[in-house]
Symmetry: C2
Amino acid sequence: MTRNEDSLKALTTILRAASSVERVVKEDMVSYGLNATEFTVMEYLYNRGKQPIQMIGKKILLASSSITYVIDRLEEKGLVQRVADVKDRRVTFAELTDEGQQKMMEIFPQHAETIEKLFKELSDSDLNKLRALLKEVGYKATKLIK
Amino acid sequence: MTRNEDSLKALTTILRAASSVERVVKEDMVSYGLNATEFTVMEYLYNRGKQPIQMIGKKILLASSSITYVIDRLEEKGLVQRVADVKDRRVTFAELTDEGQQKMMEIFPQHAETIEKLFKELSDSDLNKLRALLKEVGYKATKLIK
DNA sequence: AAAGTATAAGGTAAGTTTGAAATAAACGTT
DNA sequence: AACGTTTATTTCAAACTTACCTTATACTTT
């Protein structure tokens, strides 16, 4: 097989694997009453604490108006709140409410366990290899984004 | 780092890499006047020939109602046509029109070249390793989908 | 300090995706 | 052959995402 064909196959594999993985992860997230985007935002805030709204969008690769929408939904659910920045009045932070914090402490371990299942078959070294290779491809990809 | 944490990191890496890769690929597709879903369907038909509509949905992991929508768009563009199955009258095939065939023959090589760039940094063996690992994870994932 | 430029958040409209329900046809069992 | 079940496609409404635009604020240069 030519290198070119290999690349195409690799692309197909990466996209399909990602799609299947996303589906599993999504189903898990939905079982907690959150859609994938909402969960991703919650997880980000859970790990990083209070963050500027625009920063969240950048990190999880979502358009600015989409973030507004998601944060709106999460506020309605009482899981996230907006807090004004006193230094830069253009900025609004999003942070978990106590209820949101509570919820993440509850579901995060379950979520981690679901993910653990996905990678159970791989040896430690394979898992690390996979991460390294994907990191490289991902890095290359970000460089190619216009 | 615990194995559990490694799994989470691996998930993050796979999803981020996929997201970046998707973005690059998507930009390429859009440059041909097709969105990602449309291109994926076109590519599938280009490689496999005439296919039942429902089969396409299964293969590219799209809800049946979404396929209907995409095929509608592609028909409007004159790239795809619906053909009734004479054996099973529930089934409708989708296939490339001559124009669609023409278009794919034109853009497919360019598309392949874009993708080639993504994986340029990886050695042949790394590329194969990546595919093998992702295949395993992807397979595991499909088993976990409810 | 004024003027121009850059950045943050949100509004709006259009396009995409989904789930649920509807319709039609085929299949399986009695 | 009739009856219930499954499968394929479509329709519809609702949810989500994006691109483009607006407003407000901060930064930079003169």
